[in-house]
Amino acid sequence: MRILVCVKRVPAPGSKINITADGTAVDTTNLGFTVSPHEECAVEAAVQLIEGHGGDATVLTLGAVEAGEQLRYAVSVGIQRAVLLPTAGEEWDPQRTARAITSAIRQMESADGPFDAILFGNESADSGGFQVGIRVAHALGRPMVNGAKGLSIDDGIARVQREADAGRETYELPLPAVIGVKEGINLPRYPTMRGRLASKKVEVASIDPADATSGPMAGAVTGPTTIALRPPPERTSETVILGTGPDAAVAVVDVLDEIGVL
């Protein structure tokens, strides 16, 4: 089985995110970097599939050379190969990103054969676009379901479960397929020390993303384009302190009564 998992390097901020002076980006001074939580689960899902079925998994990212750190993270938990689509570090919009990834996948597949499954995270933690995996799947003509909270592959079929209001839905996608993974599908493992040390030795392959996104391939219009980032307005309601300790229970229940949930 051949699996590809696509990840994005994102900062790991605290509860307050600082914005750069020009207002267009997150100030990453003193921030660490990671892959989005959904993508950690996608990497884990890929590793589990390979452990169950044999074969090998490749991790891919589009980003600055520093994103090699995230590729190595994936390798350190059990992914075999790493591919970087190097950029100058600027933010790429979803369409350009999807085109570059699609093109890279085509190159890899023409060299080494098709991927049985391509995994994405449900959405990236930073830009929250909800679309790159879907665009790639469409471009490749493959079935795609986002939000996977369960995944198994048998007999050429990827069985995907996902949560909906009414219950758990099942999808059966014929391979090759693309799946957007959601946190909760598994509990991702952490790298071991040996895994970390081994990941240092893996050679990161590089595929230039520029060809796919410039010239006649570029397409007419893409977006969205960031003008500014800003914190959301603070909810300014005064907190009513209902009391201290268990004695406050009476006041709490008064409030519940008022709201009408008793």
Binding site: P13, K16, N30, G32, T192, M193, R194, L197
Partner: protein, 811 residues
């Protein structure tokens, strides 16, 4: 009493929140060792401590030697410790690979403590007993001060927070890695820098989880890789002091809101940690397959000299520092500061090494703090020689003779910021002349030269000239100057033209300082003190000086330079420069005379202070800084022939010359834990005038003979078990009875070596140590431990073995 914290409680986001929380009670430094033990006991009393035991393992022969040295320190501080073979280490910690280690140093009382909870308990106690009010999530925006014209200092008046302003008589900054930032708000400095200590938590590991215990296996310090492995329930914390120094400015530390984990748990930089992973796996193979669940670049505080910052800041009165304190010594250090504020000086221990006043202005700059922190970070688990010198930030302060000394091949030791020749390569012929050779064991020979013995013997035979420009000179002037000087000093300030050698006492009657006070005029007294104590002494002056403006203090340290000239030929040599009567009549011992010295045609005004710290007659010669070179050149020109003058290093002045005479040194023999009676510096009568510590001093005198006496001992045979002659370094080596037992007095003070050195003129190694009176009798046979072996020593008495009648001084 109000407690402010920017963060939430009980864990406001500082270093304590992520500390590994273990205490290895053995340190070569007395303050750190004893406060570590004392702190560990405080945690135990609160039941917030588990004695897990700990093992320092060695991978190299050099480290095995260091472990022998640690055994010696363990003996001095009364800490149980054992040297283990690799197999024994493996027995205690079965997952240690015995093949990569040579042995271990096992300390059963190594403890793991709950520092956060201890903080909560202390806080609650203060709430209950002292009405402490606690305000978490309250940011300090400013500290207000007011001018104090009499001292030229500021005095703290109020703290401004984001929730309001609080007027305060005293303010204590215990803000960990942020302390300097907060101090700066008041115009003060707390010289420390936040530095990264990497830590990774790996697990789960079955063998650990099966213990069902927070910590069941001894902590392992892998000393040669600068790493430790500490069980934390089912996983192992691997901490490192091996990575490159990573320093942060306190302003750049993220807030609680901005931090992904906490402000002091910075993002892990794995590339820095990779080498430690390989080494950790070598030692404990199981670590390789454990998951790295949590890894941080944890911040801790580093200072320029690796010691804490305690006490009142020198810039702002009533603004106190309790900073650069780690979990391992936290409760003890807190007690030090509390006692300092309450009683005027710490009681639990002499804290001169941690006194924030020790730093000179050059040592308070970010440039200096960063350079030194970066230099010593990797020595956290290093093997550090007692005489080890810094590589960075040299030549911060040099005497007027510096270029001449360089030309003479001076080997400089840095005394705080001051460069002082320890010996001169140009005197190599003296070593040959006196037949002095290198020492057999490299450790004993390190930071030492046979030349220093040659310089010593030359001084005794002819004469030597010592650069004393690093002396710190504080001029007290004004109508209240003499009265104030007397208020500081045990001994009475003499008439104009006399100098008084005197202790300054703490209010409890222990030594704060030991120095000379020169009465230069009716209204002028010059305080002359050593370079290691200048900062502390100047602060002491400012702290105690009258507020009515009747005294002014001026730092003259860089306006006046001092040359010491001693030896049998010193009077004759000096006579070539002046017609003044240089006999004991014309220039008596303890007198200061103003003379004009003819320095190669240039008249140089000088003060000749007849005194000696080396046991031979001579003078401290004080001249204007700019006149110094002329004096140096004149002495050198006239001195070589026929007087045998040699420039002579501090190796003679501070150690060999001094201890042959049994002279005491502040910070070594003289500490606040001892009084003048014990130190043998009490005079027959006590002056009528009041002085700081008088009451306590009188009480001690009333009690009669002191329990211990400062003694000089000689090493009778320094041959070790391998047949090598060893040379003691003076690093708190314990004095033992002939049965091998350590010696304590009723206060628990241990008899240990305060200074060690070779006495070339008596041909023996000389030690200084406080001994109980019964053992202080001359001729008493005892033993001393060095590198975990014991050697026979003999008590000389309370004085030194060389020229006990001072005939040479009086000549």
């Amino acid at each position: 009493m109000v407690l402010l914290d920017k963060g939430p409680l009980p864990n406001p986001g500082g270093s304590t929140g992520h500390a590994s929380n273990f205490i290895f009670p053995v340190d070569h430094n007395k303050e750190m060792a004893l406060l570590g033990v004392q702190s560990a006991d405080q945690y135990r009393e609160l039941d917030r401590s588990v004695d897990a035991g700990g093992i320092e393992v060695a991978r190299t022969p050099e480290r095995m030697d260091e472990l022998q040295r640690r055994m010696t320190s363990a003996t001095a501080w009364g800490v149980e410790a054992h040297l283990l073979t690799p197999a024994e280490v493996h027995e205690l910690v079965p997952f240690v690979n015995p093949d990569v280690i040579l042995g271990g140093f096992y300390c059963p009382s190594v403890s793991v403590v709950d520092s956060l909870d201890t903080g909560t308990l202390f806080r609650n106690e203060a709430i209950e007993t002292a009405g402490l009010q606690v305000f978490p999530n309250t940011e300090v925006l400013d500290i207000e001060t007011t001018d104090e014209p009499a001292t030229g200092l500021q005095r703290v008046t109020a703290v401004v927070t984001d929730k309001g302003r609080i007027e305060a008589e005293h303010v204590v900054i215990a803000c960990g890695v942020w302390s300097n930032r907060i101090a700066n708000m008041a115009g003060a400095t707390i010289p420390l820098v936040p530095a990264v200590h990497q830590m990774a938590d790996v697990g789960p590991i079955d063998v650990l989880a099966q213990t069902n215990n927070e910590i069941a296996y001894p902590i392992v310090r892998d000393m040669d890789t600068f790493c430790y492995e500490r069980q934390s329930s089912g996983s192992m914390e691997v901490g490192s002091y091996a990575h490159r120094p990573i320093l942060h400015h306190p302003d750049s530390i993220p807030s609680n809101d901005e931090a992904a984990l906490s402000p002091t748990e910075m993002p892990f930089t794995p590339d820095d940690f990779d080498p430690q992973m390989e080494q950790a796996i070598e030692l404990m193979d199981m670590l390789g397959d454990a998951e790295i669940k949590y890894a941080i670049n944890g911040l801790l505080s580093l200072t320029p000299d690796a010691m804490p910052c305690l006490g009142e800041t020198v810039e702002v009165r009533n603004l106190w520092s309790a900073a650069a304190v780690w979990v391992k010594e936290g409760p003890g250090m807190a007690q030090v500061v509390a006692e300092w504020m309450t009683f005027g000086s710490p009681r639990v221990i002499d804290a001169h090494g941690a006194d924030i006043a020790r730093f000179y202005p050059e040592e308070r700059s970010d440039e200096h703090i960063w350079a030194r922190a970066a230099e010593h970070f990797n020595k956290t688990y290093g093997i550090v020689h007692p005489a080890e010198q810094w590589e960075t930030r040299r030549e911060l302060t040099v005497s007027p003779y510096f270029s001449r000394q360089q030309d003479l091949g001076a080997f400089f030791f840095q005394a705080r910021t001051w460069e002082r020749p320890q010996w001169y390569a140009s005197n190599a012929d003296l070593a040959e002349r006196y037949g002095v050779t290198e020492r057999e064991v490299e450790w004993d020979n390190r930071w030492w030269s046979p030349i220093t013995v040659g310089e010593h013997l030359n001084l005794r035979e002819h004469c030597g000239m010592v650069d004393l420009s690093a002396f710190q000179l504080f001029e007290l002037t004004g109508p209240g100057a003499v009265e104030f000087a007397d208020h500081l000093s045990v001994n009475k300030i003499g008439p104009v033209g006399r100098a008084t050698y005197t202790p300054w006492l703490t209010p409890d009657g222990g030594f704060h300082s030991d120095l000379t006070m020169h009465r230069l005029a009716d209204d002028t007294v010059m305080v002359v003190t050593g370079v290691f104590d200048g900062g502390r002494d100047l602060h002491w002056i400012r702290k105690h000086m009258p507020r009515d403006g009747s005294v002014t203090v001026t730092d003259r340290s860089r306006e006046i330079s001092t040359l010491g000239l001693w030896g049998p030929n010193a009077p004759a040599l000096l006579a070539t420069l002046t017609d003044h009567d240089l006999t004991q009549e014309g220039s008596p011992y303890g007198s200061i005379v103003d003379v004009m010295l003819d320095c190669g045609g240039t008249d140089v005004a000088a003060k000749l202070f007849r005194i000696s710290y080396v046991g031979d007659t001579g003078w401290e010669i004080y001249v204007d800084w700019d006149d110094g070179p002329a004096l140096w050149d004149a002495l050198m020109a006239n001195g070589r022939d026929p007087f045998g003058l040699r420039p002579t290093g501090a190796g003679v002045y501070s150690t060999s010359g001094r201890i042959e005479k049994g002279y005491r040194l502040q910070g070594a023999e003289l500490e606040s834990e001892y009084d003048p009676l014990e130190a043998g510096l009490a005079r027959p009568r006590v002056k009528a005038a009041d002085f700081i510590g008088k009451e306590a001093y009188l009480r001690a005198r009333e009690q009669g003979e002191p329990e211990v006496l400062m003694c000089t001992l000689t090493v009778e045979d320094a041959t070790d078990s391998r047949g090598r002659t060893r040379w003691l370094q003076g690093g708190n080596e314990p004095i033992l009875t002939l049965d091998g037992a350590t010696i304590h007095d009723s206060h628990g003070r241990v008899s240990r070596v305060t200074t060690a050195g070779y006495g070339p003129s008596v041909g023996k190694q000389i030690l200084m140590a406080y001994l109980p009176r019964a053992l202080a009798e001359p001729g008493t046979d005892l033993r001393v431990m060095y590198m975990n072996e014991t050697f026979p020593v003999k008590v000389v008495g309370t004085g030194g073995p060389f020229d006990p009648d001072d005939t040479r001084l009086k000549s």
